[in-house]
């Protein structure tokens, strides 16, 4: 190749060459149809993609709500964990209510008159054949017992609460019975008045944390008729609100005492525990020598008393059965 003879390729000539070179190219007759098909393909994909994207976003939103919401079903969702030191110091500082002691098994016993007089609710009143703990494992938590009302003040005391610590600050509160009303002066400040059902007269009360949530419930005797005492359960709902819990409409759900008609004797009693109330009903057809005993567990929830587990039954001699036909709920105060 001889570079010196070579003339510079002019732009016009290059342009002409380029146009000429591609001149044979003819668009395929299919081209327009193929473009249309591509547009359609894209359009078809867009709607499902948007829908899928929306579904994914909605799913994420739901997940976020579930994660952020304080889970009512989770046992670790208590608002405040009780600082143990606070609860114990209140025991030693001579709180206004009845003195309390926390036994090693975690249940609360009330009373300063010595272990012999202690009316521990876990004291086996009847023989193990009908002991509900054999049929209802202690791990079975009563329905709703974890439901901590969000409107209660944060828990400062221990779980379960000491007797009579209605507002969960580790100090027993002052309870006064006045006819058909129960007045509670709380140690955090504030007084609640709970009205008992019509016709009821409060005669004695006991504080007991029936659901083990650190806020003591109150068991109040509301009356006595033909040897059977009736009791109501009061729960602290929120400041300014202490309500009588009912059990299927009955506001005096638990009873203790016995009635006889002829040779048939019906005796009832109950025991308080941190998982609920154990109601015992015994029927004797032989003048009180042997009893057919039914034990029902009642859970204490914000909605009322609910039976849980399967009632257990058994036949017991009077010597074993009789101790359970009483109201055992710690110390009773007038």
């Amino acid at each position: 190749m001889n570079g010196s003879e070579q003339s510079q390729l002019g732009p016009e000539e290059l342009s002409r060459l380029l146009h000429a070179a591609v001149e044979p190219i003819r668009p395929s007759p299919e081209a327009y149809r193929q473009i249309k098909a591509g547009v359609e393909r894209r359009r078809r994909w867009r709607a499902p993609l948007f829908a899928a994207g929306g579904a994914v976003l909605a799913g994420l939103a739901v997940l976020g709500v579930l994660l952020l919401r304080p889970g009512a079903s989770s046992s670790s969702s208590r608002v405040v964990e009780p600082p143990p030191a606070l609860g114990r110091s209140s025991l030693n500082s001579g709180s206004p209510g009845p003195g309390g002691a926390v036994s090693s098994n975690g249940s609360t016993t009330v009373g300063s008159s010595g272990p012999g007089a202690s009316q521990s609710a876990t004291e086996p009143g009847i023989t193990p054949t009908v002991d509900p703990t054999s049929n209802v494992p202690s791990s079975t938590s009563p329905p709703g017992s974890e439901g901590n009302s969000p409107t209660r003040p944060p828990l400062l005391g221990e779980r379960p609460a000491i007797a009579g610590d209605v507002d969960g600050d580790g100090k027993a509160d002052t309870v006064r019975l006045n006819g058909a009303t129960v007045e509670v002066t709380r140690s955090r400040g504030g007084t609640e008045v709970a009205k008992l059902p019509t016709g009821a007269t409060a005669t004695r009360w006991a504080g007991f944390d029936l659901d083990g949530d650190g806020y003591s419930e109150l068991v109040v005797q509301t009356g006595s008729a033909s040897g059977v005492d009736t009791y109501a359960v009061l729960r602290f709902m929120a400041p300014g609100d202490i309500s009588v819990l009912d059990n299927n409409g009955s506001t005096s759900p638990v009873t203790a005492g016995g009635t006889s008609s002829g040779s048939t004797t019906t005796s009832t009693g109950f025991a308080c525990s941190n998982t609920g109330i154990r109601q015992v009903v015994g029927t004797s057809t032989d003048g009180g020598a042997n009893y057919d005993v039914t034990v029902t567990m009642l859970a204490v929830t914000i909605d009322g008393l609910t039976q849980f587990g399967t009632p257990s039954t058994g036949a017991l001699p009077a010597t074993s059965a009789t101790p359970s036909f009483s109201a055992r709920c710690g110390d009773w105060s007038k």
């Binding site: 190749m1 070579q6 732009p11 070179a21 190219i25 395929s28 081209a31 591509g38 547009v39």
Partner: protein, 185 residues
């Protein structure tokens, strides 16, 4: 990647507005096809190594422009946007082909058709052969300036470089082509 002027995201529209845009896009697509498809295929043929791919690239560009029609603010620049897309797609096709060639040489399509004949005619053209030996940017500059008749500024916008670079690429490409084509003239 360079953006054509007037190409900006705009807020979402209502459904009615969207269907109006879709109708508008369909009409524009048809008009753009009738007017420019052939020249764009030829442009792609000069930019690409594999002439068999040029129609595919241009069709893809049309589909993309159609999809983006609602976001295109200046409809008069649709052709510029189409060209830009063709250049970009040609670049990425070249890049893909380089990678593919490195690993496994693509077998040549064996189907014979009328287009094949036309393509082989183009492939045999000396100027096309010479063009293929140029570096990619020189080739783009030469094709955009002397085939697409774009100004230096337009070519710079499409290529994503300065006007000075376009000038340099063009003159170097022109010189190289002169040398390569000297024997044939």
């Amino acid at each position: 990647m360079t953006l054509v002027e007037g190409w900006r995201p705009v807020p979402a529209r209502s459904d009615a507005a969207r269907s109006a845009v879709a109708r508008d896009a369909d009409q524009a697509l048809t008009a753009l096809y009738a007017e420019h498809y052939r020249s764009l295929v030829r442009l792609a043929a000069l930019l690409l190594d594999d002439i068999g791919l040029c129609e595919e690239v241009v069709q893809d560009a049309y589909i993309r422009v159609h999809a983006a029609w609602g976001r295109l603010q200046d409809k008069d620049k649709a052709l510029a946007y189409l060209r830009q897309t063709v250049v970009n797609l040609a670049r990425s096709t070249l890049r893909r082909r380089l990678v593919a060639l490195k690993h496994a040489p693509k077998p040549m399509p064996d189907a014979a058709s009328a287009e094949e004949g036309a393509y082989s005619l183009v492939e045999r053209a000396a100027v096309v052969q010479a063009l293929r030996e140029l570096p990619r940017r020189q080739r783009e500059a030469v094709v955009l300036r002397y085939y697409a008749d774009m100004s230096e500024a337009d070519a710079a916008a499409v290529m994503g470089c300065s006007v000075g670079s376009v000038k340099a690429y063009t003159s170097r490409g022109l010189a190289a082509l002169s040398t390569k084509l000297a024997d044939l003239r």
